[in-house]
Symmetry: C2
Subunit: 265 residues, 2 copies
């Protein structure tokens, strides 16, 4: 079982930010990454649909023999994590609890902002996770639907993303949050403009980084660390065109992706 | 057969701009509108995936007994119209030929701009359709991926859409086009900023309006006009959450939508 890969899925390319942090922390692990690019995005879709999609993604990864599953998508974590944990025999790690725990831990005054897709915000998952750790916290959540297409378009600085950030973040600035959770795997690409709008006093929590730590913890605690010293295999699967995934994926990895394979759902 | 409804499908809400024009021209016709909101958008996906989705949408409409099918999505028209025309027994009307014909007809100097999704632009469908009608035309095409999320977010004026329009349309202004085809059903919502950036001398072609005329022509020529004088039934089907469709759909119709029904694909 230890030699088996870690399975990671996301609605598309965004989860590559999580993949990248996992590989940094666990360079000897094999990984299978699945991007459900034929049905992306999840963030604007309903709970029922996202749960259905998350189940089918987990099924594809299990068929590849993964030893654990990382739900590297905030919306899928918000809506489907409980169902997957209940149904699957392998450990499942989502992206919400790690980021929420960090935010609850580092916030000075307990005023915590969360930004994410409409689905993630509507689910209330961050609010529950943060207040579960820190009952006195005041959580201010805001959906920022345009941040995903801006990141995918590569418009991460300049007047358009800055204007969007100013419009979306006005409420959170007014609420004087001291900590802001980037509750979508795409948002680290916009950290420059988000940080500029929020100001230097506000700590940004990147859930990708925190999730990789949670994955490493599970791998170690469950004695799942890969033993072999051969070079680990990293595979990329997508449900739509591999070329497009490679093109946009480059922005997320600052690197060229290896071969990407198409899978039919 | 005449009493049967006209079937209209789109990846989501955008096709409501076409639906609206059809109802204006043909107020006695029954209509079944299908928005594939579980898999929206089509515009950033590959030809193979879009063709597969278009076939399944047509199948849902045929199961409802429609007398013709309107592909009210530019990307689906660009990639899947030929396949649907070849495979289906009912007439099929897409949104590209009508807009292209109008642009070819009204352009003074033959310099025609086309804006659309990455899929529509990559297909070259407008370029072929315009130059088929007017071989001397010079077609300048530009993908504008952010226009769809901007329209769905309701950000149709102000600095963010204006900045996006300035960035996307710079090339078309430099090419001195005299006519611009809004080659995506969402774009009429942004006609204000698009028109402002292009300037008064540039004619905007709204393919929704032209498509409704093409639909009316087919209905008349094939003797498919509904005879009954009872109030026609208009049904709305979606593959994801009906509530969200009704909320965003309102922006496209300037009106409240009647009950929307969920369909499983």
């Amino acid at each position: 079982m230890c030699e088996a890969p870690i399975g990671v899925f996301d609605s598309g390319v965004g989860g590559l930010t999580v993949y990248r942090r996992i590989v940094e922390l666990l360079p000897r692990e094999a990984v299978v990454y699945l991007g459900d690019t034929a049905r992306v995005p999840y963030g604007t879709k309903s709970a029922d649909t996202v749960i259905r999609y998350a189940r089918s993604c987990a099924g594809v990864l299990l068929a590849r023999g993964v030893k654990m599953i990382v739900v590297a998508c905030n919306t899928a974590s918000a809506y489907a994590l409980e169902a997957l944990e209940a149904e699957l025999a392998v450990p499942v790690v989502g992206v919400i609890a790690p980021g929420a725990a960090t935010a609850a831990g580092i916030s000075r005054g307990g005023r915590i902002g969360v930004i994410g897709t409409p689905g993630t915000i509507a689910s209330g998952a961050y609010d529950r996770a943060i207040r579960g750790r820190r009952p006195d916290a005041r959580v201010h959540a805001k959906a920022c639907p345009l941040f995903v297409p801006l990141a995918e378009e590569g418009w991460t600085d300049g007047p358009v993303p800055l204007g969007a950030a100013q419009a979306y973040l006005e409420e959170l600035r007014a609420a004087a949050v001291d900590t802001l959770v980037l509750g979508c795997t795409h948002y680290p690409l916009l950290a420059g403009v988000i940080g500029a709008v929020m100001g230097e006093g506000v700590a940004l929590v990147d859930s990708a980084r925190e999730t990789a730590r949670a994955v490493a913890k599970v791998v170690v605690e469950r004695e799942l660390l890969r033993k072999s010293s051969t070079r680990p295999d990293h595979r990329f699967l997508v449900s739509d065109d591999p070329e497009n995934f490679m093109r946009i994926g480059r922005r997320f990895l600052d690197d060229v992706l290896p071969a990407v394979e198409w899978v039919d759902f």
